[in-house]
């Protein structure tokens, strides 16, 4: 009986995951179809033969691997930068007491209301004045600090018991040591969430990289995907091949990081 229930549960889970994964699955299948299969009706799911030609075509049209490398470099810089700046700022807003702390925090928060598009032009001029066009720092530096990240981490830090802080202080622990050895390890789930979020946001950027780069060697993946498209007709198989190539590394990274994330979650729950 018990086995039957487990089997039933797995069946339901398998079905649910099939539904959730269907778009991805279909994209994989389309990417190995021939051009005429990808436009035929009724839609073809299983290609008559695996056709790698679309991958070759996608790589010929855009230097995808170089773009993936660039996107990884920029996303990594931004992720690490945001973790550092946001955690330090969040620490100040949650553990230090200084006059006007809340007021400053609200000013911080209010910058979230400014649409990113408004700041594009001034940012562009700054980057150009610094002669940072076509460089990694030009792509990354404007995103190294974020109000959202500070907010997220502050909320996480606030959940740490005040007693912990007091105890550490009584034992003579300085701010920086408390931050490094207590706050950060205990907030791993929140740090992980912010890391994933900022990595994906940067990985998916389109307009900013397009503005500040002029060389194929400095461009990022979303521009690569745009290079595969033509406004009058769509070669779905090579577009999907490009999408697969671009999303595979990010997906793998997430799968690898997921374990760490979950572990962080449970560890925090037990120790906290």
């Amino acid at each position: 009986m018990r086995k039957l229930v487990t089997a039933g549960q797995y069946l339901i889970l398998a079905l649910a995951s099939l539904i959730l994964l269907f778009p991805v699955l279909y994209a994989v299948l389309v990417s190995v179809q021939s051009a005429s299969e990808s436009v035929s009706y009724p839609p073809v799911f299983l290609p008559s033969q695996i056709n790698w030609q679309s991958y070759v075509k996608a790589m010929e049209t855009a230097p995808i691997f170089r773009f993936i490398f660039n996107s990884f470099v920029v996303s990594a810089i931004v992720t690490v930068g945001q973790l550092i700046t946001a955690s330090l700022a969040a620490y100040a807003f949650s553990f230090l007491t200084f006059p006007g702390r809340n007021a400053i925090f609200y000013v911080f928060l209010s910058t979230m209301m400014i649409p990113w598009e408004v700041t594009i032009i001034p940012n562009y001029f700054t980057i150009r004045e610094l002669n940072w066009l076509d460089t990694y720092q030009g792509l990354a530096v404007p995103f190294l600090a974020s109000a959202f990240g500070t907010f997220l981490l502050r909320q996480a830090f606030m959940t740490l018991p005040k007693e912990l802080y007091d105890a550490a202080r009584i034992d003579g622990c300085g701010h920086f040591r408390f931050f490094l050895t207590m706050v950060l390890p205990l907030s791993r789930p929140a740090l992980g969430t912010l890391a994933v979020y900022s990595f994906l946001m940067t990985y998916n950027q389109y307009l900013w990289p397009l503005l500040v780069t002029n060389k194929d060697t400095m461009r990022t993946v979303q521009i690569g995907l745009a290079m595969l498209q033509w406004d009058q007709a769509a070669a779905w198989n090579s577009i999907m091949a490009g999408v697969m190539l671009v999303s595979a590394p990010a997906a793998l990274l997430l799968i690898a990081g997921q374990k760490q994330l979950v572990r962080g979650l449970t560890a925090g729950a037990l120790k906290g």
């Binding site: 005429s36 550092i84 390890p185 745009a226 498209q229």
Partner: protein
């Protein structure tokens, strides 16, 4: 706890190295033999971008004095946004591909060099160029940009379905009424009367509306389509405009035409898959449609349908090559040399065969490759005939409008509202004209 400190340290070091280490701007090179560099921004991706790059490579290989660097800049709209920033910061390219409806903006930007300047200086004989293509980009008797990727819409039809329905496959419908009648015959219904295959499927694409105005020789904007003077208002809220929407809506209401949204990629798919017997699409996708069909049925092409007795023709669409100002004379000359090369017969024949866009120069039709290509795709002859039979009037030259992108979207909304029973053709056009007129007024205030 020690490993965490180490990790922290490593991460911080990585970050610093990442931010600082990747610097190092371009070093000025003092090599005197260095060729003149021409920066060329292009905007069309996919198979077209491959042909563009191939032609640029061909140019670079053909001589040593000039080196053209071709840079992809996203969609046409992205590229124009980028150009706006670049003009202010004096980083504009030498040559740029801009879409048809961006012409007014380019002229108003005052950052362009009309190619006429170099045509005059170089004493180029424009007679060999396709007059209908030149007409679009000629403003105040000056050719502003060199046509590059040019297409027109045509009616595609499934010859096998025509034969099954008892229609003459060699004699496709020409007028609005004939198309509606043919669509009625071609529509297949199941036993319960539900339409399983509509006779015609047209994407809600503002470009088609502009074309259907031009075939009636009607203006889209005032001041003769913005060609005598800058347009101050739209002109599409007219009996001709209503006629288009009434015809289209009539077929949709009958169930003989299907509305499957704004994307031509979707209507193409429906036509290739045998889901509809007729569609309207650009000549640029003829090759894709014929290859997609792959012999499953015979593809026929015909002129754009028009109301009985209309005397207009089609407007060309696509993009052209613009020269940007602010560069030294030698570089400007090099840019012109590149543009001239791109519009030569040999390159244009290659371009036409690989992309389906019209050749800019009529000499290209004499190239052996192109002749062989036309034998393989006889459907293209219709497109060429349609272009050549189009009288050059201010209506078929196409409208010049600084806010064309917005106008096209508003028209698409209007068509949707009519097809979804939310407004009558008259109401929808009146409302749209109001919105676009206000936008034109705003644009004209800022452009001066």
């Amino acid at each position: 706890m020690n490993w965490k400190k180490t990790l922290c340290l490593v991460v911080m070091v990585l970050f610093v190295v990442g931010a600082v280490g990747c610097g190092g701007g371009e070093k000025p090179k003092t090599d005197e033999k260095k060729p003149i560099k021409v920066v060329f921004w292009y905007s069309v991706g996919g198979k077209v971008s491959e042909s563009t790059k191939a032609l640029v490579d061909r140019f670079n290989a053909s001589q040593k004095e000039i080196f053209v660097e071709a840079i992809f800049q996203g969609s046409y709209d992205d590229a124009i946004n980028k150009l706006k920033q670049s003009i202010v910061s004096k980083a504009a390219p030498h040559v740029m591909q801009v879409y048809d409806i961006g012409s007014r903006f380019m002229i108003d930007s005052k950052a362009v060099v009309p190619v006429q300047k170099w045509i005059d200086a170089d004493k180029v004989d424009l007679k060999v160029y396709e007059p209908n293509l030149l007409a679009y980009y000629t403003v105040d008797n000056k050719l502003y940009s060199m046509p590059f990727n040019t297409s027109t819409p045509i009616l595609y039809y499934n010859k096998n379905m025509f034969k099954e329905a008892g229609l003459d496959a060699a004699n496709p419908p020409k007028t609005f009424d004939e198309v509606a009648a043919a669509a009625r015959k071609l529509t297949v219904k199941d036993a319960s009367g539900k339409v399983t295959r509509p006779g015609i499927t047209i994407a809600i694409y503002g470009w088609f509306f502009e074309q259907l105005m031009a075939v009636q020789n009607a203006y889209y904007a005032n001041n003769d389509n913005g060609r005598s003077a800058a347009a101050t208002a739209t002109a599409f809220n007219s009996p001709e405009g209503e006629k288009i929407l009434t015809w289209w809506n009539g077929m949709v209401k009958e169930g003989t035409a299907a509305n499957i949204g704004r994307k031509t990629a979707d209507t193409q798919k429906a036509f290739i898959g045998g889901q509809t017997a007729m569609t309207i699409d650009s000549t640029g996708v003829l090759g894709d449609i014929v290859t997609g069909v792959g012999g499953k049925f015979e593809v026929g092409t015909a002129f754009m349908p028009r109301p009985e007795g209309s005397k207009g023709g089609v407007i060309i669409g696509g993009g052209s090559l613009w020269m940007l100002s602010g560069h030294p004379d030698a570089e400007e000359k090099a840019a012109w040399t590149f543009i001239k090369f791109m519009s030569d017969a040999k390159q244009q024949a290659y371009w036409h065969i690989n992309t389906g866009y019209f050749p800019v120069t009529m000499k290209a039709y004499d190239e052996a490759d192109l002749k062989a290509h036309h034998e393989k795709y006889p459907q293209f002859k219709v497109a060429v005939d349609q272009l050549h039979s189009t009288p050059i009037t201010k209506a078929t030259q196409g409208a010049l409008l600084g806010v064309f992108t917005q106008s096209r979207q508003e028209i698409e909304t209007a068509i949707e509202q009519v097809l979804n029973n939310q407004a009558s053709p008259k109401e929808a056009l009146t409302k749209t004209a109001g919105i676009v007129d206000a936008a034109i007024t705003r644009y004209n205030q800022t452009a001066k």
